[in-house]
Symmetry: C2
Subunit: 271 residues, 2 copies
């Protein structure tokens, strides 16, 4: 039992976006060890089929299990939307996604029960946010919008650029004109556009980032199963990618509150 407590948390994403979730876990669960995997060889996930996302997720979970993780957080909305239900049935390791926590946080914030969700094509078309919100609150209204250009704009560094403001206007005009009072940033890249989106939507709309709530869920799960690490030794964070480790390292060091020195590259197709 003691060994399981010391075991790391597995966290994965299609690339760097999930580091915002890892950062939240580091903050809220400072005694936990983390193994992070970013599937940089096959990103982005947003426009790929459910079938492929399930296959990729299975390979990543098999890899994380070789690192003896005690629990897994899918820090990617697309992978949560397309693969969580399937992989939960296939693996015995407990798996948390970002959609249930995001839905719960939005329902906590909203006053008029009209919630907007922005995400990738895969996340929005899956309607998973709508389904989960309706299970929690059947009377809620959910307005979803896929925003495929947000990720490339963030990756090109256009987070505060007039082009990005115009793209936000194209994608979110309808949502702004609706009665939505709460909006979920349903893609881990989008928090990097948070201030531009907040400014556009105005003060009347609360912006929800599922990362915080996902870390809370993890904390609760570990407590319930008596798996929390109470060891106060220096904790260990390991980072793996399927491509371009050096580029990932730069981004990781700009997002995380400590200096990442080693990123290991693996061939995920072998798992």
């Amino acid at each position: 039992m003691k060994d399981l407590r010391k075991a790391p948390i597995g966290v994965f994403d299609s690339g760097v976006g999930g580091l915002t979730v890892a950062r939240e876990i580091m903050r809220q669960l400072p005694d936990e060890n983390i193994v992070y995997f970013g599937d940089t060889a096959r990103l982005p996930y947003g426009s790929k089929s459910k079938e492929s996302i399930i296959r990729f997720s299975r390979q990543i979970i098999r890899f994380l299990k070789t690192r003896n993780v005690k629990a897994i957080v899918i820090a990617c909305n697309t992978a949560t939307a397309q693969a969580l239900e399937t992989v939960r049935q296939e693996f015995d390791t407990p798996i948390i996604g970002v959609i249930e926590p995001g839905a719960r946080a939005a329902l906590h914030e909203t006053k008029n029960k009209k919630i907007g969700v922005v995400g990738t094509e895969g996340t929005i078309c899956s309607q998973m946010y709508t389904r989960v919100i309706h299970e929690m609150e059947p009377g809620a209204e959910v307005l979803g919008k896929a925003c495929p250009l947000f990720v490339p704009l963030v990756e090109e560094g256009f987070t505060r650029h007039h082009i990005t403001e115009e793209v936000i206007d194209i994608y979110l005009k309808e949502m702004k004109e609706s009665e939505v009072d709460t909006m979920i940033l349903g893609c881990t890249h989008y928090p990097l556009l948070r201030s531009a989106i907040m400014q556009y939507m105005g003060e009347g709309v609360r912006i929800v980032n599922p990362a915080y709530e996902a870390a809370m869920d993890l904390k609760k799960l570990l407590k319930e199963r008596n798996m929390s690490n109470e060891n106060e030794e220096f904790n260990k964070y390991e980072f793996y990618v399927s491509d371009a480790a050096e580029k990932f390292k730069q981004f990781a060091n700009s997002v995380l509150p400590y200096n990442v020195e080693t990123i290991r590259q693996i061939n995920i197709e072998e798992f």
Copy 2:
């Protein structure tokens, strides 16, 4: 020998872009059979490492060889830039890329020997166009520019949109102000922005699309090796992808001059 003549041409790309090259082969070599592969599960290639692009290209070539192709065209600038030299040494099947043909066409067009190249990060950073142009004409000047947002803009359908015009201005301002008189569209997606780019660059700049010249090179290669198909039976085009066959089919039918009915999906990681 007769069998080899009837064998198909293998054509591959990270996704749909290479269909513009396949279309050119269909036009110029109407008696040839084609097996096309689009790596839609792992696209885009543009920002991924040389190492990964070589691994992906090897798998695809191994797959195309199971279809008994007599020659292969890498209809992707990034894969040509990162992998052509390596895979040419490893496989006995003749392999043609799009960079040599594009470079030759540009040198044929230019009067002042100042040539611009636009492409993905991988293509531009590899400096392969510069190297190949200098081998052909040491006195030429080459100005390269990576344009990472062009592909997502095309895929979002913004080919004639003021946002795209603004992005063109951001990327190509320096090239417009230079003395470049010829510009290579060094990514198979970019011909879809051809009219917007031509309008921006003005009449003084010739725009070169390597697809036409690549098909010419293929024709020449087949003749030299006595491998041209002289059979006038109904020719066969086969299409394979690694993900989302239905979406590919829609795009294929908008690009190709005949109705594509079957797209087969395979797991390329097994090759």
